[in-house]
């Protein structure tokens, strides 16, 4: 824990010094590098614990999720979203769900975000002036929903012992492997699987028809 908190403080200090003296990058870099190295030397056994990595990845995940929303440049928002998706994939890895982690990177960070990037590049959006977090009902609605969601999360974490669903023992031995997922997908959930694929084909045909009509 001290290592994690120390590293976070170092990052904060770096940001602050960069903001005060933006034209001298080494001004912030030298003390921060020294402090980071000292922390690692003092608390190196913490590097082998799960808590440290979970905390570090969680911190990066939250920071990148925040930056997706508040960064003025849409291109940077897309990149921070990719970073965030990577953090989620790392969480899956820590929970031994390797297959899910690989799919997370292939499908979300790989395929979907490329399309996001593509659209932002083609639209050539300019960096907006200052923050733009909606106005009026959008801002208050977002705030309310965010509070509601974090309340639910806290409740779930506090009661995690009583809910059988969250217990790690409720999953079998081969949980999360490709074999297990494929087995369930093609036996128990085959109807939902086929229905989803038909839905996707319909959406694809619809998109092509709409695009072609506009082309004339």
């Amino acid at each position: 824990m001290p290592l994690l908190i120390g590293l976070i403080l170092v990052v904060v200090a770096w940001t602050v010094i960069r903001a005060i003296a933006p034209d001298r990058p080494w001004f912030a870099f030298v003390p921060v590098a020294l402090a980071g190295a000292a922390l690692l030397a003092l608390f190196y056994p913490a590097l082998a614990t799960v808590e440290f990595w979970a905390g570090l990845i969680g911190f990066v995940a939250i920071l990148s999720a925040l930056l997706v929303v508040i960064h003025p440049n849409p291109m940077m928002s897309v990149l921070f979203l990719i970073l965030n998706l990577f953090c989620v994939a790392l969480f899956y890895l820590m929970l031994q769900a390797e297959f899910l982690a690989a799919l997370q990177i292939i499908v979300y960070a790989g395929a979907i975000m490329v399309l996001f990037l593509f659209v932002v590049m083609l639209l050539n959006l300019k960096a907006e002036e200052g923050l733009r977090i909606g106005t009026g009902p959008q801002r208050w609605g977002a705030l309310g929903l965010g509070l509601l969601f974090s309340g639910m999360l806290f409740w779930a974490i506090q009661n995690r012992g009583r809910l059988a669903y969250f217990a790690p023992e409720s999953t079998g031995g081969g949980f999360g492997t490709a074999r297990e997922v494929a087995g369930l997908l093609f036996t128990r959930h085959v109807f939902a699987f086929e229905a989803a694929s038909i839905l996707l084909v319909a959406a694809m045909v619809g998109a092509v028809v709409l695009a072609k009509r506009r082309l004339g």
């Binding site: 291109m75 990149l79 690989a102 799919l103 292939i106 490709a178």
Partner: protein, 345 residues
């Protein structure tokens, strides 16, 4: 610290260092091989002045790259402009870590696998990091704030998306045969049932074509087509940053060749080797050498194709990807399903 953990960390560190050295040496010498072979194909001499047969040319090139001015266009997006070459380079290095270079061997009293990471979902890791490479190229094009670079970046993104499908489908055939996503299992399956290239020849051709497109090599190098786009996405880059794009291209080639050899040419398998009854150390050496020969052959094919086939037009590229490779790959999957059901492989 825990002795087991220490051993694992130490072993991984040594393997990572070795693999990095192998990749960088291959990359450096591929640049020389490419120039010498292209010269040979075009009936020229090629670089032959630095050292015997020009063998020190990569060193000279490296020094030149180091001492060139690092130009940063004033209108470029600074952070992304500096980040983009690294984003191209890192995925190219990571993917090689799951390729098995030889059978498990006993070294210093430990069983050591000749691969950095023995991942259960190995082939998915290949696909995941293959799809990461596009970000670096697209960002390099966008962050340069140059029309040519931008065109190169967009072309690259659409090309990679189009050919990823064919690449994935050609790999699915291999997975259906082996029944596993682990590369070592795929190699073992080929030892027992014959190399995949004989059973799945169309799959192999589709894989190689898509791999050429994924690595942006001729005849698919539209993102950097000199005659249309100056140099495409890396027009504005110079010095070491330019050389990172260059090295990433060769590292990607190396990875694609390793994966092709593993999936379709039996990996480190040498037919009939176990019948000779060699001592295990010698047998393992022969197998690693066989893998190196297979990869070397594929690398040569890469160079050979580059200097033989001219560049596609953009519509031809898209037609080939969507209207030829994709349907053929789907038909091929039907054939693989048939032979798997028949129990032939």
């Amino acid at each position: 610290m825990d002795p087991v953990l220490t051993r694992v960390l130490l072993e991984s560190a040594v393997k990572i260092g070795l693999l990095f050295a192998i990749i960088m040496t291959t990359v450096a010498y591929m640049s020389l091989v490419e120039r010498r072979v292209s010269a040979w194909i075009q009936d020229r001499m090629g670089p032959n002045r630095v050292g015997p047969w020009g063998l020190f040319q990569p060193l000279a090139d490296g020094i030149k790259f180091l001492f060139k001015e690092d130009i940063r266009p004033p209108h470029a997006h600074r952070a992304l402009y500096l980040l983009a070459p690294m984003l191209v380079f890192v995925p190219a290095l990571v993917t090689t870590s799951i390729v098995p270079f030889g059978p498990p061997v006993r070294l210093f009293g430990y069983d050591v696998r000749l691969q950095v990471a023995d991942v259960d979902n190995g082939i998915l890791v290949v696909l995941a990091f293959a799809s990461m490479g596009v970000y670096g190229i697209a960002l390099a094009g966008w962050a340069s704030r140059n029309k040519y670079s931008m065109m190169g970046g967009i072309r690259s993104a659409s090309q990679l998306i189009s050919y990823e499908l064919a690449l994935g489908l050609s790999i699915v055939g291999v997975l259906m045969g082996a029944g596993s996503l682990r590369l070592d299992d795929i190699v073992r399956h080929q030892m027992a049932h014959g190399w995949n290239v004989f059973w799945q020849f169309p799959g192999f051709i589709i894989f190689m074509t898509a791999a050429f497109a994924e690595t942006n090599r001729l005849p698919f190098d539209l993102p950097e087509a000199e005659s249309e786009l100056v140099a495409g996405y890396h027009t504005e880059y110079s010095g070491l940053r330019f050389s990172m794009f260059y090295m990433a291209e060769y590292a990607n080639m190396f990875t694609a060749c390793c994966v092709a050899a593993t999936l379709f040419f039996g990996g480190y398998h040498v037919p009939g080797l176990d019948r000779l009854g060699l001592p295990s150390g010698l047998a393992a050496t022969v197998q690693v050498a066989a893998f190196a020969v297979k990869v070397g052959f594929f690398l040569f094919v890469y160079v050979w194709v580059r200097w033989t086939i001219p560049r596609f037009r953009y519509d031809q590229l898209m037609n080939l990807g969507w209207k030829v490779l994709l349907p053929v790959a789907l038909l091929h999957l039907g054939w693989v399903g048939f032979i798997v059901l028949k129990g032939w492989i």
